[in-house]
């Protein structure tokens, strides 16, 4: 059996008897169908982004009449895509950074200390994840508007409000995943650091965090993806200046004509950072999930 080095590493032993032919054929057929299902929209996205407008306005065609990169040049001027991109980057980046730091502190406390209310904390923080966003969208919207009116600071529509909101979306799952990960790190390690004269925070940063890098990366990837893709709150809580990609991309569809080739090009541009990051770091995500979630 020829296996790539990566796959061989994942499964240490090759089965003594090869699977029967019927299984191999089932596998081939089913996986091909699934691959078609998964890949078709992606291929159409890519090919349409390289077509002239004529090709995407008429009947659908698989092969472009001519391959052009002009959609990739036009997307920046049809709508202020660069601004949206920057907004998304700022919001998702800041939310991810804060989320990782805060989740690390919280998970360290839960994983390494016994204290009153620990169970209450984990249950509360996880149960907030159960509720649909629509539930606190209205109150949060009103709170931000009224708070802004009372203080004179424009909270509603600001990037800060969006960052804080996204942060709280990702915190519970991040904390939960990191608790699992920290629990899998032997306590002897930070006990040793403590006896060597490190403070508790020293033990956290010098011992636990370095050992938990895969878990932390997983949490960061998850947080960034969540914030980058969020639509509901972005649709209500942003204005022209703070609009993120999630809402900005719909700008191509609001014109009198839909520039589908540009829509697809812009979609690809918006997708590449997260998809590339995800595929590069998915190994960590799987490890993080196995340690935290799937235990």
């Amino acid at each position: 059996m020829t296996a790539s080095a990566k796959a061989a590493a994942a499964s240490p032993a090759v089965s003594p008897t090869a699977p029967p032919r019927s299984f191999i054929w089932t596998r081939r057929i089913v996986l091909t169908l699934l691959a078609l299902f998964a890949a078709t929209p992606l291929l159409v996205m890519l090919s349409s982004s390289l077509k002239p407008l004529q090709d995407v306005s008429d009947r659908f065609r698989w092969i472009p009449t001519q391959v052009t990169i002009s959609p990739y040049l036009d997307i920046w001027s049809t709508v202020p895509l660069a601004d949206y991109f920057l907004n998304s980057l700022i919001v998702a980046g800041a939310a991810t950074g804060c989320s990782v730091v805060i989740a690390t502190f919280a998970a360290y406390a839960v994983s390494r200390y016994r204290f009153r209310g620990k169970r209450l904390f984990t249950v509360t923080i996880l149960s907030t994840q159960m509720f649909p966003g629509i539930l606190f969208l209205l109150p949060l919207f009103l709170i931000f508007v009224n708070l802004g009116n009372a203080t004179g600071i424009a909270i509603y529509g600001s990037r800060g409000a969006l960052i804080v909101t996204y942060l709280t979306f990702t915190l519970p799952f991040s904390v939960w995943m990191l608790i699992g990960y920290f629990d899998s790190i032997p306590r002897d390690l930070d006990e040793a650091a403590l006896t060597d004269g490190c403070g508790p925070l020293g033990a956290l940063f010098r011992v636990v965090v370095p050992a938990a890098v895969p878990g932390i990366v997983a949490v960061a990837v998850y947080s960034f993806m969540t914030a980058w893709g969020e639509v509901l709150f972005a649709s209500v809580m942003t204005n022209e200046a703070t609009r993120t990609l999630a809402i900005g991309l719909q700008g191509y569809a609001n014109q009198s004509q839909v520039y589908w080739n540009q829509v697809m090009a812009a979609s690809l541009v918006a997708s590449v950072p997260v998809v590339a990051g995800f595929l590069l770091l998915q190994r960590y995500l799987v490890t993080g999930l196995t340690a935290g979630a799937v235990k």
Partner: protein
């Protein structure tokens, strides 16, 4: 977006048990002056997370419950504390299935239930099939895995925008294939309006969520000791028996969490219908989140919108608790 984790599953936190806390105890007695500081430290570490969750999630939720008892229409948005109380009025309107508002809500609720059952079963089925078929390594497995995971990694809006392009009536790929190339239909069907929109919704939702099931199940499969399969092979068990006797039972604990997560995600889904259909979802695809959004932000009647949200919350709480009790997960963690 709502990546949730049921309250009953916080087992890892407690699972370390007495063994993990053992070595800590004698030291705490030995270094007495530090005791006070140590007692306060965990709370200090938790404080940022706690403050944020309370401020952004719990407080608004409490406000939402209060709002549902008020007549919070457009003229009170700016000073909502002055809106008059109307008791259970909003709830009465929401559950009165003979009046238009209640009827529409019930319809939306039923649609959401049907959509959730269908989409979750399909997503799980595809996920478990792919995970089992890809358990053994073969050539191209890594590449295939990356391809399968890409729909999940795509930002939801770009994925759904692409689907709305595929599902266009006149220039879409789907109609091109089934009408022009295969000739299956007499005329080109509409996918984004009318009854077909339900099918479109299920397909897009499954396309986006099954990779998540695949990812989780694949991770879980790696934890099954290979000796089990080898022993089964020695005993003469075929592939089918191995799957039924070893693989599926080993996946049970993961499935319990996974199905709940998929259920809550799918049931609360706002993104897919919102981007696929725009601000007015067709009746056949009027999911509950989009329904509440519309009845709040289109009519600016936040009071009745909040009442519907509270009803939704109660429903989700009941279902989740019932599910956790039924699967025994809640009992174990207590």
């Amino acid at each position: 977006m709502t990546t949730l984790s049921p309250p009953g599953t916080s087992r890892p936190a407690d699972a370390k048990g007495p063994a993990g806390d053992g070595p800590e105890r004698p030291r705490r007695r030995r270094i007495l002056p530090d005791r006070l500081r140590r007692a306060g430290l965990p709370y200090l570490l938790l404080l940022p997370a706690l403050i944020l969750e309370v401020l952004i999630h719990l407080a608004p939720m409490a406000v939402g419950v209060v709002m549902s008892f008020k007549e919070l229409t457009q003229q009170y948005i700016r000073n909502w504390d002055q809106a008059p109380w109307i008791g259970a009025g909003n709830f009465r309107i929401a559950v009165d299935v003979n009046a238009p508002v209640g009827e529409a809500l019930l319809h939306s609720f039923l649609i959401t239930c049907a959509f959730t059952v269908l989409a979750v079963s399909l997503a799980w089925l595809l996920g478990v099939t792919a995970a089992i078929l890809m358990q053994e390594s073969f050539r191209g497995r890594g590449l295939l895995r990356a391809l399968f995971l890409t729909p999940y990694a795509l930002p939801v809006y770009t994925a759904v925008i692409t689907w709305s392009f595929l599902l266009q009536r006149d220039g879409g790929m789907v109609n091109h294939v089934i009408h022009d190339q295969l000739g299956l239909t007499d005329s080109e069907p509409f996918w984004l309006i009318g009854d077909n929109s339900f099918i479109a919704l299920v397909v897009v939702s499954v396309w986006r969520t099954w990779p998540f099931a695949f990812l989780i199940l694949m991770a879980a499969l790696q934890n099954i000791p290979r000796e089990l399969y080898e022993a089964a092979q020695v005993d003469g068990a075929g592939i089918r028996q191995q799957i039924r006797r070893i693989t599926l039972p080993s996946l049970r604990p993961v499935n319990q969490v996974l199905v709940l997560v998929l259920f809550l995600w799918t049931f609360n889904d706002f993104n897919v219908p919102y981007i696929l259909f725009g601000k007015s979802a067709p009746e056949a695809a009027d999911l509950i989140s989009i329904h509440i959004y519309q009845s709040s932000f289109v009519t600016w009647d936040f009071g009745s919108g909040s009442a519907m949200s509270v009803l939704l919350l109660v429903f989700l709480l009941v279902v989740t608790c019932g599910y956790l009790l039924a699967t025994g997960r809640g009992r174990k963690s207590r």
